[in-house]
């Protein structure tokens, strides 16, 4: 160093930037703070979200959040559409897992109508839902790791995701906005090569999860950036109504597929990965392990997949076969009743829920006997996660806030409805 003591270049004069100046016990003055908006339009927010942060140096001392940038009146729109027409709208809630939203909504209305869907439809719903869960977790983990600067993982996880989307595209003609379910079953049956293709893709998914795991699990930078960062306690998470992988990362063994099983989930053998710390690291890894469990469920469901129809024959919801519509007056009338008068559940109210990739996706539906729902309230799981966001990032650095935002997986389409 040319004989110069590096310390003399930066003399500690006890000024504001010195070690003594950063003492936390000093007088807290607002003049020392810088106010920075994180979002609403920022690449790291993955959607329009805003957090106003008060910074002391690079530390967030206080934060408040705002949402609603993507609010488009989903619930109001439902009231002027028929029960069947709401299904495409649900695709746009959490657009990463459209089929899960379709299933969540249809399951609620079907229970209201007292319809049990055929077994084959149930199994196909389970398979497509779990494929959606895989996509969601790959997207969440991949995007989260990009925010941490680990770009390579993004290609590994998004390559696999693309292959899962290819299956869904072949199944229902759309990649993201699938509208795969109908009230009473599914829009169409699986193609003959479906099972083989899914099995082949699952292999690829497992391989890429393994690769991501290898890249990050012993990576010093990743561990330092995520372990013990943005921790939330079990009690606080419960008070915020957290569900799904983010709650499980706090150490709560709670999964609706186990706790209140539906669609034969109790017949499948699978584990529920649970974290211990409630930090960013646990939230990422709970998701990575869940991908493997979803793959297990799909393999079992493919083995058990029964033959038969994918649509109920209940005349209140199922359109008659075309030869009936064109061939006899009853079929024609049945067809026109459903198209013109719609599907009309008896007046009543129901709350029904499913375990979506982000947590409990609930629909509270009020029917008044007409063809339109009287009121639909969607319970988006990530609203509860985002409500806790400001609390989690306080005391951390700005870069930790970005890493945390990815790990609680806020999807603005679902958050703002």
């Amino acid at each position: 160093m040319n004989g110069i003591d590096p310390k003399t270049l930066l003399p500690d004069t006890g000024g504001e930037n010195s070690a003594a100046g950063l003492d936390s016990s000093r007088h807290k003055d607002r003049k020392d703070l810088v106010f920075v908006n994180l979002g609403p339009s920022h690449p790291a927010t993955h959607g329009c979200l805003r957090a106003l942060c008060a910074l002391d140096g690079e530390t967030i001392v206080a934060a408040v959040t705002e949402m609603g940038y993507l609010h488009r009146g989903f619930e109001k729109d439902c009231e002027v559409h028929t029960f069947q027409q709401v299904i495409p709208y649900t695709d746009r809630l959490n657009y990463v897992l459209a089929i899960m939203n379709n299933v969540g909504y249809c399951k609620a209305v079907e229970r209201m109508l007292g319809i049990t869907i055929p077994d084959r439809a149930m199994y196909l719903r389970v398979i497509t839902c779990e494929l959606n869960r895989i996509i969601d977790h790959l997207v969440c983990a991949g995007a989260n790791l990009v925010d941490l600067g680990a770009l390579t993982n993004f290609w590994y996880s998004f390559n696999a995701r693309e292959k899962v989307y290819n299956i869904l595209e072949k199944l229902c003609g759309a990649r993201l906005t699938s509208s795969y379910t109908r009230l009473g079953g599914l829009s169409r049956d699986a193609h003959p090569s479906f099972a083989d293709e899914v099995r082949a893709v699952l292999k690829e998914v497992k391989k890429s999860v393994g690769e991501v795991n290898n890249l990050i699990s012993k990576n010093r930078i990743f561990l330092d950036r995520t372990q013990g960062v943005c921790v939330i306690s079990k009690e606080r998470a419960l008070s915020y109504g957290w569900t799904g992988p983010t709650l499980r990362a706090c150490g709560m063994d709670y999964d609706l597929r186990k706790a209140e099983p539906y669609y034969h989930y109790d017949d499948f053998k699978f584990e529920v990965p649970v974290g211990t710390q409630g930090d960013t690291y646990d939230r990422i890894f709970v998701r990575l392990y869940e991908i493997e469990e979803s793959a297990n469920i799909i393999e079992q469901a493919l083995k058990k997949l029964p033959k038969g129809p994918v649509m109920t024959d209940d005349k209140r919801v199922a359109l008659p076969p075309k030869q009936e519509t064109y061939g006899n007056i009853e079929g024609l009338m049945n067809h026109f009743k459903i198209i013109m008068h719609g599907i009309c559940p008896e007046p009543g109210e129901i709350y029904d829920f499913t375990e979506a990739a982000n947590g409990e996706l609930g629909f509270y539906i009020v029917a008044d006997g007409s063809k339109n729902p009287y009121r639909v309230k969607c319970r988006p799981p990530c609203l509860m996660n985002y409500a806790a966001f400001h609390e989690m990032i306080e005391g951390g650095m700005v870069s930790d806030a970005v890493a945390n935002l990815g790990s609680i997986n806020i999807i603005a389409g679902e958050l703002d409805r």
């Binding site: 807290k28 229970r111 209201m112 419960l238 609930g362 609203l383 409500a387």
Partner: protein
């Protein structure tokens, strides 16, 4: 606990508050007098026999467009879940049109703060003693409450000014010791 047991137990604890009950497809609904919602919720959360440690959702409903409706115009449905005991429950509170005010439960559940803000924003039901009853989904300049049945779905509003958020930040900074 079974649904009937929950109802019986709650009747014993709050005989004045319980107005009735209904079965919503296997999900127990208990109708509660609006004024006593806070104390009932406190019991539900703290009594180890109920142990409802989660507020799942808060739903606001405007019944005014229902044919032949004679009850109060608005209702709130509070959905609870107990993770320790596994049972679920829904409380229903009716809210009058001329004075749509209900006590807040935001001190008992952290997410109630935002859920009540959403109900206020969308339906115009106000929550007494809420710490920050602002709109949640709609813009702060928005006029009216869009989920009310008399709000036309085609109505558009011009909204332009940014929300500064400094009012909320002030509260937060004071709590952190910044004057």
């Amino acid at each position: 606990m079974k649904n009937e047991e929950i109802l019986e137990k709650l009747k014993q604890k709050h005989p004045q508050a319980v107005l009735g009950a209904a079965d919503r497809f296997g999900y127990l609904e208990i109708q509660i007098a609006g004024a006593s919602i806070a104390e009932v919720v406190k019991t539900l959360r703290d009594d180890p026999e109920f142990a409802f440690n989660m507020l799942i959702d808060l739903v606001s409903i405007d019944y005014s467009a229902t044919q032949g409706w004679t009850g109060e115009r608005f209702a709130l449905a509070y959905l609870f879940k107990s993770l320790t005991l596994g049972h679920r429950l829904q409380l229903k509170v009716t809210v009058a049109e001329d004075e749509p005010v209900v006590p807040t439960i935001s001190e008992f559940y952290a997410n109630a703060n935002w859920l009540e803000r959403e109900a206020y924003d969308q339906m115009g039901v106000r929550f007494a003693r809420h710490p920050n009853l602002k709109r949640l989904l709609n813009h702060h300049e928005f006029v009216g409450h869009p989920l009310r049945k008399d709000y036309p779905i085609t109505k558009r509003q011009w909204l332009s000014a940014n929300e500064s958020l400094m009012d909320e930040m002030d509260v937060r900074l004071k709590a952190k010791g910044y004057q």
